[in-house]
Structures are given as structure tokens and as C-alpha cells.
Amino acid sequence: MSSRVPQMLIGGVGLGAPIMVVAFAAALSGTVLDAAPPLAADEAEQIVQEAQRRTDARSQRYEGVLQVADSKGKIADKRWTLERLGSHGDSRVVLRFTAPAEVKGVALLVVNHPDRASDQWMWTPALERDRRIALQDRSTRFFGTDFSFEDLEERDVHQYTYSLLGEDVVDQAACWKVQSVPRQGKSSQYSRSVLWLRKDNYAFARIENYVKDQVVRRLNYTDLQQVQGIWTATKLEMHDLRRDSRTRLVLDKLQYNEPMKEEDFTLQAIRRQ
């Protein structure tokens, strides 16, 4: 079993890759969600590692359609394309907006590291410049969506500790309920996360991210499809509970293991349109 486990990929198991890795983050001070004490930590970590193993892919590409709905129900559509080279905490991701028209060409480069937080740069064509997204700025929303910059990164399993909270049912599927807490020194906006992983295929069903004892973001995975042998949630919904707004992401034209070149995942590459 691989020693590297991605954090939570938007798409998690099944999506096979980091896209939005909804952080497992959390501070050591986080308290356990339920009153019941945590069960075997080894078992919880093994579940997450198996989830990763089943989504392992050399590369990934998809077109994402986003619908951002505010608390009054007003919806704004956005689109992006995403390419990822590598997998599971040691990968590079280029995300480019294709709609709405005014943000066409805006690109984000994410370089994920197994042992530390990712590096992120944003390219803005109107300025002809790239800008590094500093670590302390990553709790902010990503381009008006309900995902934060931190949610875009993928992290190593060893940056977190896991505990099995029990079992639950999500969308009529039996799930393991696992808590992840970032290890000491891990920088994250979230104090902890609770993950629901389906027992039948190890796909992520839900993630709740906490700040102290409050759930601040909830990510639901639906419409599971098997793509090139990898169970992938093709619809994801991130609910920002503080703003009461939601972003739905639908994955289209999803492909795994396409040939990609390393030089297309650099600062020079995102400068190209």
C-alpha cells in the first residue's frame, strides 16, 4: 500500500485525483465529533490509504462546470479545465478558467509536495503577471467559489492522524466515518475534518471541515461513475455554512492516465494562454 495518501480530493476516491482536496486539516486542539471515543487509528488510516490506492493514476484531465449559488439562490456559472500530472501528494496541477468570458485565461498552478503544503501561483492575463498565493492567504475563497485555495491542494497522509469514529449512511450507502486531524506544525485553516468513505468502493461520500467545533464547509460527492476503472464522483457540492452559499462542480470529459509533459506544469507554461 502506498505510503502517500492524498488528502481529500475533490473527487476523492473515485475522482482519483486532487482537484480539490478538501483539506483534512485541523489543529491538534480539535475535539472528537461524536461523544463516542475514537476507534482504531490504524484501521482508519488503512481505510484512507486504500481509498487512495484505488484512485491512483499517472495523470488526470477534466472540464469542470461550476455553479455558484449565494444565500438568495442567485446562480453564477463558471468553467475550468484541469490537468494533473502525478498523483497523491506529489503532483502538479494546472487549472484554467474558460468561463465566464472575463476570466478566460486565468490559471492556477499547484505544486503538491508530500511533506509540506503546496506551492500555488496564479496567472492573470490582464496583468501579464503571476502571483504567488501565500500560505496565510489560502483560507480565502477561490475566485468567488465556495472552495478555498487550500481546498485545491493535495496532501500526504502522514501530515494527519486518523481515527475511526464509527459507521454511518450517506445517500443510502454504508460508510466509514473517519476523523482526520493535522499533525503538529501542519498549517491549515481547518482544525479537523470528518470523512465519510463508502464501504462498497472506498469512494468519498462526504467531508466536513471544522474550525474549532464548528463545521464551516461540507463537501458532498454524488453521481459515482467508474471511469477507466476508477470510481469517480462526477458531481460535487461544496457548502460554505458560514456564508450559506454553495458551489456545485460537475466533471465532464474526465480522463485518466493521458500522456502529459512535465514542462506543461511550470510557471512558464501557465503564462502560455
Binding site: A76, L135, R141, E263
Partner: protein, 405 residues
Amino acid sequence: MLAVACSTGTPAIAAAQTFSYRGFVDLRALVFPQDSPHDDTNFVGDMLARGEAFYRPTSWAQFAFGLDARANSDDQVDTSFQVDLRDRLALRPSVSVRRLSATFTRGPLTLDAGKQFIRWGKTDVITPTDRFAPKDFLYVIDGEFLPVTGVRTVLQWGANTIDVPFVPRFTPDRTPLLDQRWTLLPADVTGVKVMAAAVNLPSDSQAGVRWSHTGSYEYSLSFFDGLDYRPNLRIAVQPKVPSIEIAKEYPHIRSYGADGAVPTRWFTIKGEAAYVTSSTPHTDEYVLYVVQLERQTGEWVLVGGYAGEVVTVSRGQVAFAPDRGLARALVGRASYTIDTNRRVAFESAVRQNGRGVYVNAEYSHARGQHWRATVNAAVIGGSGDDFLGRYRQNSYGALVLRYSF
């Protein structure tokens, strides 16, 4: 950009071949409530249509083409309707090629050839090392970058990058028009004819090299040898006519620069400095530097800093130099995203001696997939002997309607 992969052929080819485009049409209305001493135009209408296309036939080559079309109610646009490739006109061309370039990549090497944008530096308000980025300064405080024509070679290995631009043909700043409010004349020259001398643009080339490192900290060192795209002004008074003739001369300069960004727990600290020397007579030598703090928190993006200047050799230079003019000032910008379609922004610059101030407030609202309306009001105040203060009669309001495609 529309990075739409072609759906024909093998998956690998499909991934490589892309065609994308983007553009917009801007309609802008400006209101200047006050007359300036030699310009009583209070309303200006402006139109800019911009289209850019990018074609990537293979994974190692890309071609880019972009065109601007303009119209203006205040005689700021050349009406010869010739397609302009050079960006050397005093007026904005009615049709100009904004981008015409080819990009080739092979491993760690990237080569861009043609008309393109080259940006150096880290800071936002003033970028002292940004030596390949002339601007259109018809409206001084709202300048837009002009492309340059040249070859840029970039070698990237690991976290290091070497960037070597070579620009054989000089592109100067577009300076304010002499008969308009952004040109500043002494009060006692009212009624005197002001003329522009014939411009002989130098044929010298420009070259530079920049090494940059991106790790936990980002830093760069750069060197530039070429022409300053901001001109020295030579003013000749002819008392018999009477008239004043203003000639532009572009000094040869060398610039030794450095910039860096250091993330801390609360802010990202960015700094940039350039030491500029010159062998051209009547041209100052100086150090221009900027230190700024940057932070995003919640829906706010906050940038604030100080721009400073130290003149090391003063030779009595008279120049059009907005970057130096904005030095010795505290500058700041704050923007707030109200929701996915709406945002507000505030921007200010205050000279450290308090003799010049600029404040701008902006509200922007997008509608649907294509439309955005922006209103802004800029207030300029100060005294007549200050770079900012001298524009105190140029406070304005603007409404911009943009259709993006």
C-alpha cells in the same frame, strides 16, 4: 482563454491541439468636473474593442495574435485607420496589433518571438525593475501596458529561472497629449503656443537578464541595458512667436535590480528596488524602491506600501517620469468581494510631504456571462509643485460598460 481541446485524433493529439480566444468591448464615459488651464473638455467618450487568439498546433509551439480597435471623442485616437504594428504614434492608433508572437518550448527552454508583453518585478504599485513594459500614459494615473517587439528566452531548471529578453526596436511610453489636461504647463504660459518637436526615436536595442528563484521565499536579480521608455524633456522657448517647443529624448540607462517576496505569518512582504545609471547628459542617476505588505483575509485583498527614491547623481533632469513622480509616497489598495458578481475597491497614494493625494473608489457589477459595469470616482488634490498635486483639476468620474467574449 478558451482552452478547448480538439476532440479529433488520438487522445494525446487531442490534448495538444488547442485554439482559444478572448476579448472584450469597452465603452467608457469620463466626466471631468473642472476645466484645466488649457483644456476645457469635461466629457470624454471612449471605445476599445480587443480580441486575442491563441493557437497551439503542437505541444511545443504556440502562436498568438491580438488586435485593438479604438475610437475617442477627444481626439486621442489617430483616424488614419491604418493597422499599426509599431506603437510609436503620439495618438492611440485606431487599429493596432496588440500581440503577434510565436512561442516554442523544448524541455526547460521557452522562446517567445514577436510582439509580446514582458513583465518583470514583484510589486504592484510601482515596479522599478519592470524595464520592458512601456505604458500608454495619455491619462497618466490610469496607464495601460504596451507590448514590445523582441525575443525572449527563458530557461527554467528546478526552482530557478533565467529570463533573457532582447528588444531590437524601441517602444516608448505614450505620453500625455500637449493640448490635453494631463500635460502640465506653467500657469504663465497660458496663451502661448505649445508645440511638439519632431521625434526621432533612437534605433538602439534593449537587452536584459533576470535570474529568479522560487522557493519558500522568492527573489530575483536583474540587469537591464537600453533606453528608458520615459523621456527627458527638452523645452525651448521662442519669445518672438511666442511659443514653446517640447522635445523628447530617450536616455540610455542601465538598471541593476532586485525583487523579492517573503511570506510571514500575517503578511506577504514584497520589495523591489532598481539602481538606474545613465551616460546620457542631463539624466539623473537614482535608486527607486518599493516595500509593500499584502494580505488576503476573508473577502478582502489588502495591499499597502511605501515607494521611495534616492537620487544619487542629480543632473537637473526634466523628464516625464510617473514612476519617480509617485515615489516618496504611501500607497495602498483594498478590494472587497461582495459576492460572485460584485466587488468594490479603494486605492490611494499620499505623498509623504502631504502635498499630493490621489484617492480612487470603484464599484463593479457583473451580469450574466458577458456584461460588467464599473463606476469609479478619482479625486486628486494637492499643491501645484507636486507631481500628484498638479493634477488637482483632473479629478474625474467614469462609467465603464464591458462586454467580454
